[in-house]
């Protein structure tokens, strides 16, 4: 491409940079600054010492790491056999796994958590049955176990999907040559298949860790408070915006997220296997031996049952009048839905509004950044990508605290309303948090678009802008749409930043509403109903966008991993 420094490109880049600086970089730096300074502005480590001097904080720190690591482990145990069996064996139900495997992502973990308590808790359905027939119970949901269980069940698809794509990309000859030299079964998997799929696995594992570390809703609903994200939230909301301990917790969360991300890339340094792989011959899938088949189908049925349990549970809960100390609810009713539609239709409207704005801006910014990076020689354009992607490592609670602190004295023009109480700040938080998803989508779409298609248009007399309008955007439409949908849907179930930024109930989106309902036993029914509605909306959105995207171009597209 010709290197041309167009003022329009520079202006767009500057506008995006300004947005990112104002709503991502400055708030995060503010949080870090507060954590390291005294009230008079002098640098200090005293807050850190007092943080680690508090038993609760130390425990929260260890618990967060423990929950993150154990969730990754449990998610891996669920995903590895599923991915391996569906990709390497002739196996009925592979499609089922691929489809249902995404299901948990549709519902945020904190929504399912209450239902999981009722199904797997001490006096939940499973333990009631176990106690009845075998005389013992399994503490699935006791304390941290519950958080780990719920998180792993919700986030294992990140590992499953990335691993599946990684396995599909391994040249068959890599495995066949190992078999030829005498390796089979578990050894073949351990020595050849898994190491080659490791980049995909690590990408998924890092993502799961980030998600779990970020999640504030699940532990709160499960009444587990000795978790870093929860402590940060509680300190700021209960003690106040000036409490330094909340900031220290935030800084530690950011560091842990960055280490997880950096660690996964560091482990894979110099191992870009893709260059050595030639899209091999069609995969020779093996037949399952009887014993393997029993194990494989048994595992899949078990996983599917557990994966679907929060959905079934939340549905039952939403239809129940009373449900406690029984395997299934005793009395069914539609009252919960009536309540929700009467009281919370404003929240649904809010969700649509905020997420629509966020997703719209995300694809606008994403497309612009993708174009600037791939099609121009603008200096320092890579920094836009880096800054926008960095949002993935900033937990929602931290971003929320950052906004509250940075804009605390900022008033909306011509009013007395503080900016932090204005609903737009929630939409901005969503925009920043979900930008990495949209950006990856737009980048991938533009990367697949060969420059010569644009050059042909220019050659035939179309100006740069006309070319973007008539060639680039239509051809990118599938990717842009995918980015919009991902941003929208994931924003619709966002709680970590929401919980910090909602000041008036009239401004609250659905996710916050569900959380509020779930706080009280009496609210669980309506909360579940609102959860079901959210799941239905998100599910329909996912389904429609998949149909739309498949309908357009993308027939030849390889399965895409959930990166970032």
């Amino acid at each position: 491409m010709h290197a041309r420094l167009s003022p329009a490109h520079a202006a767009i880049a500057l506008a995006i940079a300004l947005f990112l600086v104002l709503f991502l970089i400055v708030p995060v730096i503010t949080v870090v600054y507060v954590a390291f300074t005294n009230s008079d502005g002098t640098l200090t480590l005293a807050h850190f010492f007092s943080f680690f001097g508090l038993t609760l904080m130390r425990e929260s720190f260890y618990n967060s790491l423990y929950v993150g690591a154990m969730s990754v482990l449990l998610a891996s145990i669920i995903s590895l056999p599923l991915a391996y069996f569906t990709m390497r064996y002739r196996f009925r139900g592979g499609v089922l796994i691929q489809t249902l495997g995404v299901l948990p992502l549709i519902m945020p973990p904190f929504v399912g958590a209450a239902a999981m308590q009722l199904l797997f808790g001490r006096s939940g359905s499973v333990n009631l049955i176990l106690n009845d027939c075998c005389g013992f119970g399994i503490p699935f949901m006791e304390g941290l176990n519950g958080v780990i269980f719920v998180e792993a069940l919700h986030y294992f698809p990140f590992i499953l999907l990335n691993l599946t794509v990684a396995l599909a990309n391994i040249d068959t000859a890599m495995e066949e040559s190992a078999q030829n030299l005498g390796a089979s079964g578990v050894r073949l998997f351990r020595r050849i298949v898994f190491p080659l799929a490791l980049p995909g696995y690590l990408a998924g594992a890092a993502l799961v860790f980030l998600k779990v570390f970020d999640d504030v809703g699940t532990p709160l609903v499960l009444n587990v408070t000795d978790i870093l994200a929860v402590q940060a939230y509680l300190r700021i909301t209960s003690i106040g915006i000036d409490d330094p301990i909340g900031y220290v917790a935030s800084v530690i969360m950011v560091i842990a997220s960055l280490v997880a991300l950096w660690g996964s890339t560091w482990l894979m340094r110099g191992r870009d296997y893709a260059t050595l792989q030639r899209g091999g011959s069609s995969l020779a899938r093996r037949e399952l031996k009887p014993l393997q088949a029993v194990f494989a189908y048994g595992w899949i049925i078990l996983v599917l049952l557990i994966v679907l349990s929060p959905h079934i549970g939340i549905l039952l809960l939403s239809l129940s009048k009373v449900w406690s100390f029984s395997v299934v609810p005793d009395v069914y009713t539609l009252d919960n839905y009536k309540t929700v539609f009467r009281d919370s239709s404003g929240m649904m409207a809010n969700t649509l509004l905020y997420c629509g704005i966020a997703a719209g801006f995300d694809v606008l910014i994403g497309t612009a950044i993708a174009y600037l990076i791939l099609r121009t020689r603008l200096p320092a354009r890579q920094w836009l990508d880096l800054a926008a992607s960095a949002a993935i490592a900033i937990p929602g609670v931290v971003l929320g605290i950052g906004y509250l602190r940075t804009f605390k004295d900022f008033q909306l023009p011509f009013t007395t309303q503080p900016f932090t109480a204005f609903w737009v700040i929630i939409a901005i938080a969503y925009t920043v948090r979900r930008l990495p998803y949209a950006l990856r989508s737009c980048m991938a779409a533009l990367q697949q678009l060969h420059v010569s298609l644009e050059e042909a248009a220019e050659n035939l007399g179309a100006s740069k802008n006309r070319t973007i309008y008539r060639i680039v955007v239509p051809l990118m439409a599938g990717g842009i749409l995918a980015g919009f949908v991902t941003s929208f849907l994931t924003a619709a179930v966002e709680l970590s930043a929401t919980i910090m930024l909602v000041t008036a109930q009239s401004d609250a989106p659905m996710s916050y509403g569900i959380y509020l309902y779930m706080q009280s036993i009496a609210g669980r029914g309506p909360g579940a109903a609102l959860g079901v509605i959210a799941v239905v909306i998100v599910g329909i959105g996912t389904y429609l966008s998949n149909r739309l995207i498949r309908g357009r171009a993308a027939q030849h597209e390889a399965p895409r991993a959930l990166h970032i």
Partner: protein, 361 residues
């Protein structure tokens, strides 16, 4: 690396289909101990499928594969002890060169010292003893190929399979590597089967060649047999360049004659008893070209035509000559003072009846 006991490989009545598409049809092969055997054929002829079947990656619908008479059809690939070098080498990027080579030995649970010694000597055998600590991606194409070979021979396989081993190398390296491969095979004495679509490669280094087309073995023989006595039209045109003329053959007690509009009635040496419509085949380099005004010797059959096209190929010039609308290809050696014909020139083409092969149509 010690010389190994040489094994005999038999493929008996093997048929294989992928879904409704037949890929191998009733294939029979008998490969002698220590032979360097080539499977030659155009792409899609089933040669790689056959090789993968021998390695155990494909299962035949019927038939058997036997080593020294023992049926191995049901043995899984990892227990066969048949080494295979893959077309794209399939070197594992997450292991060093030495780790790649040691892999098969580790799978055989050899003592550590043995593994180290055998790895080293396998690398020495291919001249890469100093490259053990490198990653495959740091090697050139030719070096990667050597690692793939070393990795396979390290386990001292009963049988060595090479799947288009030279196809990813550039032309010069290919010629060099094929002599190296042959020397290595002779040194180890291991029965070797290699797959190629390049007839020059197959003819130049193998003891015997099986030519496949459409999943059927067309002919098995030494390179010279294939070249001199092609069994059918496919072999004749696939192995080397050839001229084909159709006509009618008559075989009587007195001998075989062939009648065609171009050459009239020809008496042919007794090689095959064919009657009815048939084709004769003759190689371009057995033809003699002369000016039409020169008297031709009586031991040759002569036809007249005009030069339609000429290609200078260094050692010889390839003429395409139009004889009454039929193209005849003739190669004439090129040297100082050799006679040349220009496009459009009238020429006489002389054929020695002894060089003509009769093929049933």
């Amino acid at each position: 690396m010690t010389a190994q006991r040489k094994v005999r490989l038999e493929v008996r009545n093997v048929s294989l289909a992928f879904g409704a598409t037949p890929v191998l049809r009733n294939v029979n092969l008998d490969i002698k101990p220590g032979e360097f055997f080539a499977l030659l054929g155009p792409s899609g002829c089933g040669k790689s499928t056959l090789l993968r079947l021998i390695a155990g990656f494909n299962q035949a619908q019927s038939g058997a594969v036997c080593i020294d008479g023992a049926d191995i059809t049901r043995i899984p690939p990892w227990e066969r002890d048949i080494g295979m070098v893959f077309q794209n080498y399939a070197l594992w990027p997450h292991m060093t060169v030495a780790q790649n080579v040691a892999f098969g030995l580790q799978e055989r649970k050899l003592p550590r010292a043995d593994i180290q010694r055998k790895t080293q000597s396998a690398l020495e055998l291919v001249g890469l003893q100093d490259y053990g600590q490198r990653r495959p991606s740091q090697l050139s194409g030719g070096q990667q190929q050597r690692v793939a070979v070393a990795r396979t021979i390290a386990i001292e396989p009963k049988l060595l399979l090479l799947d288009e081993p030279l196809s990813n190398l550039d032309a010069q390296l290919r010629v060099h590597m094929r002599t190296e491969l042959l020397a290595l095979q002779r040194k180890l004495g291991v029965t070797t089967i290699f797959v190629t679509h390049d007839q020059e490669e197959a003819l130049s280094i193998s003891d015997r060649v099986a030519v496949l087309d459409g999943g059927v073995i067309q002919q098995v023989g030494t390179p010279m047999e294939l070249f001199d006595r092609p069994a059918n039209r496919f072999i004749a045109s696939f192995v080397g360049t050839i001229n084909l003329l159709s006509g009618t053959a008559h075989t009587t007690a007195d001998g075989t004659t062939f009648e065609s509009p171009l050459l009239g009635r020809l008496a042919l040496p007794r090689t095959s008893a064919v009657s009815g419509s048939a084709e004769i085949a003759f190689r371009p380099h057995t033809l003699t070209l002369a000016s039409p005004d020169r008297a031709g010797s009586a031991d040759k059959v002569w036809m007249q035509g005009s030069v339609a096209h000429r290609e200078f190929l260094g050692e010889f010039i390839r003429y395409r000559i139009d004889v009454q609308g039929i193209d005849i290809v003739a190669d004439q050696p090129h040297y100082g003072g050799s006679i040349e014909f220009l496009p459009g020139a009238l020429v006489k083409i002389g054929i020695q009846p002894g060089q003509i092969r009769l093929l049933a149509a």
